[in-house]
């Protein structure tokens, strides 16, 4: 069995190397703890040993179920532990996403790696530190108040030569200790590692080709596989002509019911065989017509209604208002669009399976693979390796299940590499989202009632989407739908006196859904923040001032003002009407308190709109951001830059296309994304609150671009865009119906 650890010390001297060590049987891991006790390493969430091990050589291994998806947690999480444990950062080794060694801290999703995963690790470190200090009190015969710690050595403050190290106290032994939720944390004013922009350890390897990605991983005797998907999503396999690949060296067909694949010793042979193989499939045309998507969504059976907020009597307030407004916002189906198609390696032997996967959710995936292999999950071990960024549940999990099934069917270790059309065509999608909002304004333009409805698929939030492998191979599985927590932020981030927000949870949705960065929260914020802008325009009030009428939360107000200041926001109502010529410029605002529970952010988009062609260019995007305590400011910046640019792409360009049988956006030509000349400059201000809990960073700011850009376009040309993506054709069409205003 191979254990893969990313070794901090080596990273920090710049090799970027992965240390691959081997042991022979389960329970004999190359980890000191397991070696000395002979027991399997604990992984329970309430045990210190699940998270941390101090070794004789003075290094500390930390174990986490959260994985670095290119997001920088590979440095941020160790910073939290190094700080709390008072050890040097370069003494830490990190094991991520190994189901045999790491605690199940939940999938790496929802902007929770630091907020939940890191906080669990930090509390384990604080508990360990508390115990080590108590041991030192015994050993040194001094009260804890007279002791200090530096780099893993506890010493008497007045007589520093009286000292004892962590290694002497606990090296290679287990803590046998429950995590103490009350173990005191260090005072943030004493932080020296948390809050620092420490460079990421994996960047040198990624930039020089020495970092091992999932796609680079090989095991001896491994076959290369390619999966062959039907030409229609619901088609069944009728015939396979195995002779059609006879000329390709070593290539053969693997089949279980409608699950079809080819394997070969050489990768190129597998690719050629997959292209050349002749098979016939049944006809299937079960998808709704793309041009009638929103009618389809509205007519889908509602499984249940979820009420996000219900306060006062909005219906009555709106009925009695001086002015009323109503608008509908739709948001297209998006694909994750990972730069590298999914890949995985599986080695299934009898009732055990060794699996390497880039999945965001090793522990979940283990249960999924168990379903596909019809095997006890106990025999399955999944180890994480970096793939291309996934931004949610993309094709990684399906490709992993494909590899597991093909390995089982061939009896060999198998590497599955999806092709581009597999990833674009078959990864689960961000579902179509429709929001309708009504409001009533009083004579001063104040919102007196707000009533919103959302149409989205139902969610079985603790279940994974059905896997392609099980579906095609006819393996029984739960038919769950899970698009993530997409109802969050339906209730606007302003405490209106009368407001209601209801999510109609639909029984089905056209394409298999999952979560894509900022699921639902992006779509809901888009609708809310455009709609409040519409209200401000009707009221004839500046959009920032209008929001300040309602906002009472001081942290919300602080980010709002910071964004406006940074962008040199000019106080006036939108739209501006002082421009002529083909290019019109505008600015738009957006604000959100993420899930109305955590990270605050506000953004300003600056756009140029070509009135003739309808092309929009977002030239600049400002973000003010308060995620509480900042662990690594450079990591926060990278995440904000990334999510703004990615979401500008989604907002302006992206729309998955399909016909009655299948997805037709199958590559970068049929699913264009933002390119370098179109990328906005991202400017930001981070508000650090070291005494507050650290909140999520990877998703919240992605709420901002869709509404801020829509509002900026309105500012520029007086036209409201209520349908993402904001393609040139939609701008031209909306200009015609609204009547372009100069």
């Amino acid at each position: 069995m191979a254990t893969i650890e990313t070794t901090r010390r080596e990273f920090l001297i710049g090799t970027g190397a992965l240390v691959v060590t081997f042991s022979l049987t389960p329970g004999r891991e190359p980890h000191a703890l397991a070696q000395t006790t002979g027991k399997a390493k604990p992984v329970a969430l309430d045990q210190v040993d699940s998270f941390l091990a101090v070794h004789k050589d003075g290094t500390v291994t930390m174990y986490t179920g959260k994985v670095d998806l290119g997001t920088g947690t590979r440095i941020a999480l160790p910073q939290m532990v190094a700080e709390e444990l008072d050890i040097a950062l370069d003494k830490i080794k990190l094991v991520e996403g190994d189901t045999a060694l790491t605690p199940d801290q939940g999938p790496t999703w929802g902007s929770l790696s630091i907020q939940i995963g890191g906080v669990q690790l930090r509390q384990a470190a604080a508990t360990a530190r508390q115990m080590l200090v108590q041991m030192a009190v015994q050993k040194l015969g001094m009260p804890s108040a007279d002791l200090a710690i530096k780099d893993g050595v506890i010493f008497v403050r007045a007589e520093p030569h009286r000292r004892v190290s962590y290694v002497e106290l606990i090296g290679d032994r287990s803590f046998d200790l429950k995590v103490d939720k009350d173990a005191p944390l260090k005072n943030p004013k004493d932080h020296t590692v948390v809050g620092q922009p420490v460079p990421r350890p994996d960047v040198p390897g990624k930039v020089t080709g020495t970092h091992t990605y999932m796609q680079d991983f090989r095991v001896p005797g491994m076959l290369h596989a390619r999966v062959i998907r039907p030409p229609a999503i619901g088609a069944t396999l009728e015939t396979v002509d195995e002779s059609s690949i006879k000329g390709i060296k070593g290539a053969r067909v693997v089949r279980q019911q409608s699950f079809l694949a080819v394997v070969a010793e050489s990768e190129w042979a597998a690719v050629k065989a997959a292209r050349q193989l002749k098979a016939t499939w049944s006809k299937w045309e079960g998808l709704p017509e793309m041009s009638k998507l929103w009618e389809h969504v509205r007519s889908t059976k509602v499984a249940k209604d979820d009420v996000a907020v219900d306060r006062g009597d909005p219906k009555k307030a709106i009925a009695g208002a001086a002015k009323t407004l109503k608008a509908t916002y739709d948001f297209a189906i998006h694909t994750h669009g990972s730069m590298g198609p999914a890949c995985a390696v599986a080695d299934v032997k009898g009732d055990t399976a060794e699996i390497w996967s880039p999945s965001q959710a090793s522990h979940w995936l283990r249960r999924e693979v168990a379903v596909v292999l019809q095997m006890d999950a106990k025999g399955i071990r999944i180890r994480y390796l970096d793939g291309a960024g996934c931004y949610g549940r993309n094709g990684h999990e399906d490709a992993t299940c494909d590899a597991a099934l093909i390995s089982k069917l061939t009896g060999k270790p198998v590497r599955v590499q999806w092709m581009r059309e597999d990833e674009h065509g078959w990864d689960p999608k961000g579902p179509p989202t429709l929001v309708e909002i009504s409001a009533g304004l009083d004579a001063q333009g104040n919102i007196v009632g707000w009533d919103s409805e959302l149409w989205v698929p139902q969610a079985d939030i603790t279940e994974w989407p059905r896997t392609l492998a099980a579906t095609f191979a006819g393996i029984p599985q739960k038919e769950a739908i899970n698009p993530g927590n997409i109802h969050r932020n339906l209730d606007p981030s302003y405490p209106f006196a009368n407001q209601k927000a209801v999510a109609h949870r639909l029984e089905s949705t056209p394409l298999r859904p999952s979560w894509i960065r900022t699921p639902g929260r992006m779509q809901n914020t888009y609708a809310n923040e455009v709609f409040i802008d519409e209200c401000a325009a009707v009221a004839g009030v500046d959009p920032v001032e209008y929001r300040l009428r309602y906002l009472t939360d001081p942290r919300g107000i602080a980010v709002l003002r910071a964004a406006a200041n940074m962008a040199k926001w000019e106080t006036r109502p939108s739209a501006r009407r002082d421009q002529s010529g083909p290019i019109a410029r505008g600015r738009g605002f957006a604000y959100v308190k993420y899930e109305n529970a955590r990270t605050y952010c506000a953004g300003v988009a600056e756009v140029e709109v070509n009135r003739q062609t309808g092309a929009i260019r977002c030239t600049r995007f400002y973000v003010a951001h308060d995620c509480g305590q900042i662990i690594n400011p450079d990591g926060v910046r990278a995440q904000i830059e990334g999510q703004v640019i990615q979401t500008v792409s989604r907002t302006l360009k992206e729309e998955l296309k399909w016909n009655r049988s299948r997805v037709t956006s199958v590559d970068w030509a049929s699913y264009p994304i933002l390119r370098f000349p179109e990328v906005p400059e991202v400017i930001m201000e981070l508000i650090n609150r070291p005494n507050d809990p650290p909140w999520g960073v990877g998703e919240p700011a992605a709420c901002l671009p869709p509404p801020a850009i829509s509002n900026a376009v309105f500012d520029a040309i007086g036209v409201r865009l209520r349908s993402v993506p904001f393609t040139p054709a939609k701008v031209v069409a909306a200009t015609k119906t609204t009547g372009a205003r100069a």
């Binding site: 710049g14 090799t15 970027g16 998806l69 290119g70 997001t71 920088g72 460079p199 990421r200 994996d202 960047v203 040198p204 390897g205 990624k206 930039v207 020089t208 080709g209 020495t210 970092h211 091992t212 990605y213 796609q215 680079d216 050489s266 990768e267 190129w268 690719v271 669009g337 990972s338 730069m339 590298g340 198609p341 970096d386 793939g387 291309a388 960024g389 931004y391 590499q417 092709m419 581009r420 450079d634 990278a638 830059e641 990334g642 999510q643 703004v644 640019i645 990615q646 792409s649 590559d667 970068w668 030509a669 994304i673 933002l674 390119r675 370098f676 000349p677 990328v679 400059e681 991202v682």
Partner: protein
Amino acid sequence: MATLNVNGKPHQVDVEPDTPLLYVLRDNLGLHGPKFGCGLAQCGSCSVLIDGKAVRSCTYAVGKVGPGKIVTLEGLGTPQKPHPVQQAFIEEQAAQCGYCINGMVIQTTAFLAARQSNPSEREIRQALQNNLCRCGTHQRIIAAVKRAAALMGKGA
């Protein structure tokens, strides 16, 4: 049997001539710099230098290479001794998942080698317009190209 000159060394490989160079580099020579992203010459992840020019190895048949000198990301530099372009990417922390970064570094290397003066931001954006990044690392990549130009002493 083909002979390839890769990162300054000759290699004999026993592959069919229609095999895309990418598979030969990755599977036969064990190089991990060039990545499989699309196989369609659309994204740039698989880029390598052939005689100093950036080439998309996913659609470049190995039989076409001939005596051309191939340089991959590994051939430019190492973590200990990075090429100036790599050094600039490290200093700017210009990678998230990093899957596109091979293409970015290779394209930048070819672009900067072909010019005397410092490129403008506009020129940099143009030079990279056919390289895709999904993580949104563009801003740092642009900064890294500027930094690389400075490290390489390109005049104004």
